[in-house]
Symmetry: C2
Subunit: 198 residues, 2 copies
């Protein structure tokens, strides 16, 4: 969002931030456990002095929140296929593909383990993406379910599967699963979906 935030967004600060973020992603991707993911380790990998990391982020939890926020925002382009169903299907497919990446999943696990702030950073942008899709359909003149209904019907199952279902493939192929979820979400009359979360 505001990569250039701070009172001095000049080259070096941005470089350091990028370097540290990259280091965190790499270390998590390499399977370093949360308790071993310490600031000196991160700083060493980033080629930055540990003091800098302590001063800028303070703790591993905040750093993970920062990384998660940047990792999980703005990387999905909201599609515009012309129909709500197709838009949702495409968007959910992108989300599912993202969650299928082991590195992404590892980062999310770490963020969830780091606390509520970092955890919420993983999904904050998803809601705005959903809202954008729904708003587009509204502009077309169609009825849309509530954002929370889409979260319950699409996002929650995808995240749940990613986190709690063992890696071995279960049931439907990824594409079929998304299709089925969207169909179920939109199949029920839209009114009840709207009334679900007042």
């Amino acid at each position: 969002m505001n990569e250039a935030s701070g009172s001095r967004p000049g080259g070096r600060s941005a470089r350091v931030r990028a370097s540290v973020h990259r280091a965190v992603e790499d270390l998590v991707a390499e399977g370093v456990r949360i308790e071993d993911l310490t600031i000196p380790v991160i700083a060493a990998r980033a080629g930055v002095h540990a003091t800098t990391v302590y001063r800028r982020w303070g703790s591993v939890a905040e750093l993970l929140a920062s990384v998660a926020e940047h990792r999980f925002t703005g990387d999905v382009v909201v599609p515009d296929t012309g129909s709500l169903g197709a838009d949702l299907e495409r968007w959910a497919t992108d989300v599912a593909r993202d969650l299928a990446d082991p590195d992404t999943l590892a980062l999310m696990r770490a963020s969830i383990g780091a606390g509520e702030t970092a955890s919420c950073a993983c999904t904050a942008d998803r809601r705005t993406q959903i809202a954008a899709v729904l708003e587009r359909e509204t502009a077309r003149g169609g009825d849309v379910p509530a954002v929370d209904a889409v979260v319950d019907g699409l996002l929650a199952p995808l995240y749940y599967s990613a986190l709690f279902v063992p890696a071995h493939d279960d049931g439907p192929a990824p594409g079929d699963r998304v299709r089925a979820l969207v169909g179920k979400l939109l199949g029920g009359d839209v009114l009840s979906a709207q009334a679900l979360t007042p």
Copy 2:
């Protein structure tokens, strides 16, 4: 599951294990942050020497996984109210109440952060509980949705909310939310729900 595992399950070992587990639950319940939840602290609270904890569990992550495993299995009695809707509603309410507990949530966060194995341990028992509820309804002669459909429609939204929605109260009251989810799950014709996850 096997509380008395190990080559010498005699009184003292079991006592120590129970004491340490209890200490972890208490500390987490008191709001001690994960990063402050260190082995010496746990050992002191449990009235056990830190060396013992290091030797038996090795790390905080493994200890938390162990606690979570015992915490998330077998503590929910599957209800039998006479109708599928009421059974599911009651069961889901129990689950939601459990997830609303800060200690339980903290334990789950830690387990998720610990990796896939510990993570799956949090929900493994839920599936069997759902299966039991559905089987009971089948014995009554009613049509039931697939277990995966119930997971998607009930369990996933509840877990998602617990993990990714900030603590501040959102939308509906806990009871209403569960009721709405169950209604939506059973409201759509059961056939489509069954076809969702073949």
